[in-house]
């Protein structure tokens, strides 16, 4: 019942490949701002992977983990961005 598991596997692999590609920007970004954008991209794609794995395993309570990450994922990014803004503003 539901979606074909093969399609879900393909979607998980594609999202994993995209997040590996966007991790290249984290590995080789010249400035911290580039790495921050890479972190933001990876958070969004891993969130998609979490939801699709919950659909694949057919457990609705596993969606809590994705909800926690969706709510709290941007607090760290906000802290880093605030520090960068303070650093530039102080110069």
């Amino acid at each position: 019942m539901g979606i074909d598991p093969f399609i879900l596997d393909v979607v998980i692999y594609v999202l994993m490949g995209i997040s590996v590609l966007s991790m290249v920007r984290v590995f080789a970004g010249p400035t911290p701002e580039d790495r921050l954008v890479g972190l933001n991209l990876v958070v969004a794609q891993v969130l998609g992977i979490l939801v699709i794995i919950a659909v694949k395993f057919d457990r609705s309570i596993y969606l809590d983990v994705a909800l926690v990450y969706a709510i709290l994922g941007f607090i760290g990014i906000l802290a880093i961005a605030r520090y960068l803004g303070n650093d530039r503003g102080g110069e």
């Binding site: 991790m23 972190l39 990876v42 979490l50 926690v68 709290l72 880093i80």
Partner: protein, 78 residues
């Protein structure tokens, strides 16, 4: 399935990278992705309790504490 192997290799790369950075801000960003991927690994291995704890601590609290400590000390490592 090959997803856990990919995640473990990425975890090793991120750990070595966060040791090698001279700018500590980059190390903090790399550790944030490290905790995100380890949370995904726990989730994949059917341990949602540990995954929630790792996601909440790694995404919110640990990054804020690291950034506050960097703000109180120096940013570059010599």
């Amino acid at each position: 399935m090959i997803i856990p192997q990919i995640i473990i290799i990425l975890l090793i790369i991120l750990g070595i990278l966060s040791l090698q950075f001279k700018d500590l801000l980059n190390a903090v960003i790399s550790l944030a992705i490290f905790s995100l991927l380890s949370s995904l690994l726990f989730y994949y291995l059917h341990a949602p309790d540990v995954s929630i704890a790792e996601a909440a601590v790694g995404a919110g609290v640990a990054t804020v504490i690291f950034i506050a400590v960097i703000g109180k000390t120096r940013r570059k490592e010599e």
